[in-house]
């Protein structure tokens, strides 16, 4: 688009403002919850938000990379489930040491990402369909490994799963939360302070231009899917820590949650614009909606769904209203 009325710097600040608005709305929503429901406003509820959604946060962060390049990754939930399954299987059936299993599982995730990225870039297959095939494959492999659910009894795992790091009285967090936050920090730095990260944005802005500018488009695009694969399998491991088990039925539909979180966080599905911090807020929002409904505790199954839809709608409308009001037209 050509010269708009709004000059550059203002525009950028506006984008930040969108994230701020999202944050503000989230806080407001939380405050409303605290007023309506007793016990809602406690620190532990906030922390639980992180504990319960840590794996989604990590997966959504990976998804952010892919969406920023203008792609999409539908395989995340299945890859996460596969990672957990593989981990549980190797630990429980083959009794491999944890130190060997964890890296291997992460490698499998990266490998999945690489395969899909390679096909998407070099064979010009639409990301949607390539990752859908990846989703079928990963989910299918779960059942090939074991149709039954597997409990993990490995002492390291169970130990970790029950570790709590106290944060003052009555409030404590799991190590997985810290991992989630660390991933967030690393993703932020990667996206904003490395060439790879900037190339991700450039490709999303205009892949053809990025190519002509001499950017490593192939490496970057495939890299984004590898990041997503890595995050998915890490998310899967977090989920395994969370439940100390694995099942082929885990994390069905997580890809939609992750995409929703990313997009609610202000990232454009067309690529090139968005922040990983926004994604974190998106995850928190989805979690908060669920929490509110849990505290409400009187809704039937269908009213639960309708309420989720309505809350989401309200949030997005407000976000739209308060955020970037595009006065262009």
């Amino acid at each position: 688009m050509t010269a708009l009325g709004v000059r550059g710097p203002v525009r950028i600040r506006r984008e930040h403002a969108a994230v701020l608005v999202t944050f503000g709305l989230l806080v407001a929503m939380f405050a409303a919850g605290s007023i309506v429901y007793p016990g809602f406003g406690s620190g532990q509820v906030v922390v639980d938000l992180f504990i319960d959604n840590g794996f989604l946060l990590v997966i959504a962060i990976g998804m952010t990379f892919v969406i920023l390049t203008g792609g999409i990754d539908l395989s995340v939930g299945a890859v996460a489930a596969l990672s957990a399954m593989l981990c549980a299987f190797l630990l429980e059936q083959w009794h491999w040491p944890v130190a060997a299993v964890l890296p291997l599982v992460l490698l499998v995730g990266i490998g999945f990402g690489f395969g899909m990225g390679y096909v998407i870039h070099h064979f010009e297959i639409q990301p949607f369909i390539a990752t859908l095939a990846g989703m079928f494959l990963a989910r299918g492999l779960c059942f090939v490994i074991s149709i039954d659910q597997i409990s993990i009894s490995n002492p390291f795992f169970t130990e970790w799963a029950q570790t709590r790091i106290p944060l003052g009285e009555e409030t404590n967090v799991t190590p997985t939360v810290l991992i989630g936050l660390a991933v967030l920090a690393v993703a932020f730095v990667t996206l904003h302070y490395t060439r790879f990260g900037r190339a991700v944005y450039a490709i999303g802005g205009n892949a053809q231009s990025a190519l002509l500018m001499g950017l490593p488009v192939a490496r970057t695009r495939i890299g984004a899917y590898m990041v997503s694969g890595l995050c998915s399998s890490l998310g899967g491991l977090l989920f395994a820590f969370y439940t100390i088990s694995a099942s082929g039925l885990h994390e069905v539909g997580t890809e939609l949650d992750a995409i929703a979180a990313v997009v609610i966080g202000g990232t454009l599905l067309t690529g090139g614009s968005g922040y990983v911090v926004g994604t974190a807020l998106g995850v928190m929002l989805l979690g908060t909606i669920q929490t509110i409904l849990r505290f409400q505790g009187t809704l039937s199954s269908w009213w639960t769904r309708i309420a989720i839809g309505v809350l989401l709608l309200l949030f997005i409308l407000l976000q739209r209203l308060l955020g970037s009001s595009r006065t262009r037209r």
Binding site: F128, F136, L137, G140, I259, A260, L312, L313, R320, R326
Partner: protein
């Protein structure tokens, strides 16, 4: 030959044919079609009949995708439409009354169109990204369907209603006729008027379309409304076929299948150019795939792996880049020297 291979529908059609042939190898009677109970009977008919709802949903999805959008709510609309129609019919004194069924069907379709319209408003007027705008209805809509059915199956026992998705007319499955008519009408509406071109323009470059004076908002709303309507008809078919409205499961994950059908058919998800015939082929490919899985007895736990492999092969075969990179490399040593321009041309076009 060149023209055939170069045609955009060649590869989806080839895939479909190969898949059908594979079935014949495993199940020799696969192609046999008999007349039983006064109507056609056979696996091919099953594929057409069971694939009908998907064809319709994918058809609507194609139009939405052409505008550069996407509609995740189709599955929920499928459930709502079936639920409402069955709810209304089951409440009637005489379930077999044609008038009552017509009223129920009409109301269900109106509601579906309204839901599509609602999506369109959010996308075109409010300016929310399509995936999120329709995600809202995807989540809430499922709840609405369950609300209508109270989470239970609503059984209907209404011969006229049964016709829509499970009945036959002139020995042909009525649903297939409906799909044929809808596809034909849509094809006419899209290609005989300027609608198709304008939709492609919007999907191809929204800003340029605005500056050229296309009233894109209206057209986008129209596209989503049409998509809702198609999903509504599909919902009627599904519930009619089993004479039951299942608010919980009808149309579950159907949006993914529909998008897959569109993409297999050769329409890009980024919007712009679209092909309705390709979408129909894509939907048939998907339905054939499921039928193949059931008839050949692939164990349930490897079904998904099998699906993944087939989808991957289908997509790779369709990708010109893949064919160029893989087949050319292999063909090169044998290829005649570039002196023959005809051969070179084929390669370029292939």
């Amino acid at each position: 030959m060149k023209a055939v291979i170069g045609h955009r529908l060649f590869w989806p059609a080839a895939v479909l044919v190969v898949m059908l042939l594979a079935n014949v190898v495993v199940t020799p009677g696969f192609f046999s079609i008999q007349v039983r109970n006064g109507h056609l009977y056979g696996s091919l008919i099953d594929i057409l009949l069971l694939g009908s709802p998907l064809m319709l949903v994918a058809l609507g999805m194609t139009v939405v995708i052409a505008t550069g959008g996407i509609d995740l709510s189709v599955g929920a609309v499928v459930a709502i439409s079936g639920a409402l129609a069955c709810y209304l019919i089951s409440g009637q004194e005489d379930q077999g009354a044609v008038s009552g069924v017509l009223v129920a069907v009409a109301l269900a379709l109106v509601l579906s169109a309204v839901l599509g319209f609602w999506n369109g408003l959010f996308v075109a007027r409010v300016g929310i990204q399509p995936i999120i705008a329709t995600l809202i209805l995807m989540v809430a809509g499922r709840g609405v369907a369950q609300l209508i059915t109270s989470g239970k199956n609503i059984n209907v026992n209404s011969p006229p209603y049964k016709l829509i998705g499970g009945g036959y007319w002139l020995t042909l499955p009525f649903a297939v006729i409906v799909v044929a008519v809808v596809v034909a009408l849509t094809g006419l509406a899209v290609r005989r008027t300027a609608l198709g071109m304008l939709l492609e323009a919007i999907g191809g470059n929204a800003e340029a379309s605005r500056l050229v004076g296309i009233r894109s908002r209206r057209l986008i709303v129209l596209a989503y409304t049409f998509c809702g309507l198609c999903a509504g008809i599909a919902g009627l078919m599904i519930s009619s076929n089993i004479a039951t409205a299942d608010g919980n499961n009808a149309g579950l994950w159907m949006e993914l299948d529909a998008i897959l059908a569109v993409v297999i058919g050769g329409t890009a998800l980024t919007g712009g150019r679209f092909t309705l015939a390709g979408t129909v082929l894509g939907a048939l490919v998907i339905q054939t795939l499921s039928t193949t899985i059931y008839t050949t007895g692939i164990p349930p736990q490897v079904t998904l792996v099998f699906k993944a492999v087939v989808v991957a092969i289908v997509c790779l075969i369709q990708s010109p880049a893949f064919r160029a990179k893989v087949f050319r490399r292999r063909a090169r040593p044998a290829a005649p020297p570039p002196a023959s321009p005809a051969a070179a041309d084929v390669e370029v076009n292939a």
